[in-house]
């Protein structure tokens, strides 16, 4: 059976919050997964005492486990692919129109 890395929606109405989970593809969205490797809070937040207007999103991720699961063939969904590509675990799938950077340079400040 296909193992996927996907999001499981928790939270409340109009207040989404996602667990980044590794689960079998045919299981229900919020059923108990194989492993929870992180969380994704899609609601942009401001910093306290920061009036620059720049918003941020908080993501928690176990990068080691994410790399492991990608390495053994787990298939990330598009959204999770986008998140993992930000930290350089995967090459970016979709790029904004414009000059395409080489595949070896992922996110701007990514370290991994």
């Amino acid at each position: 059976m296909v193992v996927k890395i996907r999001l499981a929606r928790f939270g409340r109405t109009n207040k989404p919050f996602y667990n980044i989970v590794v689960a079998h593809a045919r299981t229900a969205r919020n059923s108990r997964p194989l492993e929870v490797i992180g969380t994704y809070d899609p609601i942009p937040k401001t910093d306290l005492y920061d009036d620059s207007g720049k918003l941020h999103k908080d993501i928690k991720l176990d990068t080691t486990r994410a790399k492991y699961w990608v390495g053994v063939g787990a298939q990330p969904t598009d959204t999770v692919w986008r998140l993992l590509s930000l930290v350089g675990i995967l090459p970016p799938k979709y790029r904004p129109a414009g000059p395409t950077p080489s595949p070896s340079t992922p996110g701007q400040t990514s370290k991994a």
Binding site: F10, G11, F17, N19, I20, R32, P33, E35, V36, I37, G38, T39, P44, L48, K54, L55, H56, K57, D58, I59, K60, L61, D62, T63, R65, L83, L86, V87, P96, G107, Q108, T109, S110, K111, A112
Partner: protein
């Protein structure tokens, strides 16, 4: 079968009857359910209603003021002028002229005569706050030393400095300050300048009494053993701290000890300020290290719209059952109690 209620007796029907029969008096005889006063009222006001479309003025005489209200008005007329002007340096509380009973007077710091427990404590005057800010920000004296010098709680000293900093920044930015409001409030409250020779503003080294230490305890100890306060704390419980570890400014105790041991007070005081400064520097360093540690676990990725902050976690933290509370993410198979009665969801602190 439930008992039948006659349709005229049921409440909505009755209401409907009343409403329908209020507009122009109908020739239909009024039902017995209609209010009793209506025939006279409608007969009196009907000509006006028919002549003009606007609603008529009521001709009912205004209700007489109650006795209580009349007495209140009398009291205001008699005593009001006493409170119109505030005496500088004095409170303007109503308790000034209102003893609770013949043999029990009220104190000047008691705003409500019947509430003995409510005392209005003096606040720091504008000059006192300026002095505190000057000592901390200009002279660079450690907060603990300022607190000990003026006998003002350390938290209050910190708050004064923060507020003063904001005030001064707003002045630099030409933002309007609500000064009339501040003056008016300050005029109404008892104030204290931090003048030398006055009584202490407030106790600064009080400690919290742990409930474990309120019980009587018998601990066998040999006569030769030196039983200190730290030992006593340990006897009461593993988590109970000795008073020296709990007080806000333990350096003050050190200073008094060294004075007792023969150090000249001036020297002891200089040592106290140095110790206080060192402890504050250590605290700041700890805080900086904590922030740095949190930042090291975080990767920031800037995109056009948002900054994504990736925090590194350990997926193994969920524990053998997968339900550990400290682990990241929502828990499976454990109810979230956020809809429980009495659960406080309002944020209680500002990070």
């Amino acid at each position: 079968m439930p008992p039948r209620i006659p349709s005229s007796g049921c409440q909505p029907q009755r209401l409907l009857n009343c409403l329908e029969s209020v507009p122009p008096p109908s020739p239909v005889p009024l039902s017995t359910l209609a209010p009793r006063h209506r025939p006279t009222a409608s007969s009196r006001s009907s000509p006006q209603w028919s002549s003009s479309s606007s609603r008529p003025f009521s001709t009912t005489p205004a209700a007489q003021a109650t006795k209580l209200r009349r007495k209140f008005q009398e009291w205001c007329d008699k005593n009001g002028p006493l409170f119109r002007e505030t005496n500088p340096g004095d409170t303007n509380y109503v308790s000034r002229i209102m003893p609770v009973s013949d043999n029990q007077g009220t104190e000047p710091d008691q705003p409500f005569p019947n509430n003995k427990a409510f005392r209005s404590e003096p606040v720091l005057s504008e000059r006192a706050r300026e002095t505190i800010w000057w000592s901390v920000m200009v002279k660079g004296v450690p907060l603990k030393a300022v607190s000990a010098e003026f006998s003002v709680d350390m938290r209050r000293v910190a708050a004064v400095v923060r507020m003063k900093e904001i005030e001064k920044r707003w002045e630099r930015e030409n933002k309007p300050l609500a000064l009339p409001y501040a003056y008016a409030i300050a005029k109404m409250l008892p104030r204290r300048d931090l003048v030398e020779g006055e009584a202490n503003f407030e106790p600064i080294n009080d400690i919290h009494v742990h409930s474990y230490t309120m019980q009587q305890l018998f601990v066998p100890a040999s006569e030769s053993r030196e039983f200190t306060r730290a030992d006593a704390a340990k006897a009461f419980g593993d988590r109970v701290l000795p008073p020296d570890a709990k007080m806000r400014i333990p350096e003050l105790v050190q200073m008094e000890r060294s004075i007792v041991e023969g150090t000249p007070p001036r020297e002891a005081r200089a040592q106290f300020i140095a110790n206080a400064g060192a402890s504050e520097a250590a605290f700041a360093e700890r805080q900086r290290a904590r922030q740095q540690g949190a930042e090291a676990k975080r990767t920031r990725v800037n995109t056009d719209r948002f900054e994504f902050r990736f925090e590194k976690i350990n997926a193994e933290d969920v524990g053998p059952t997968g339900r550990a509370r400290k682990a990241a993410g929502w828990r499976y198979g454990a109810p979230l109690m956020d809809r429980r009665r009495g659960e406080v969801k309002i944020p209680t602190r500002v990070e």
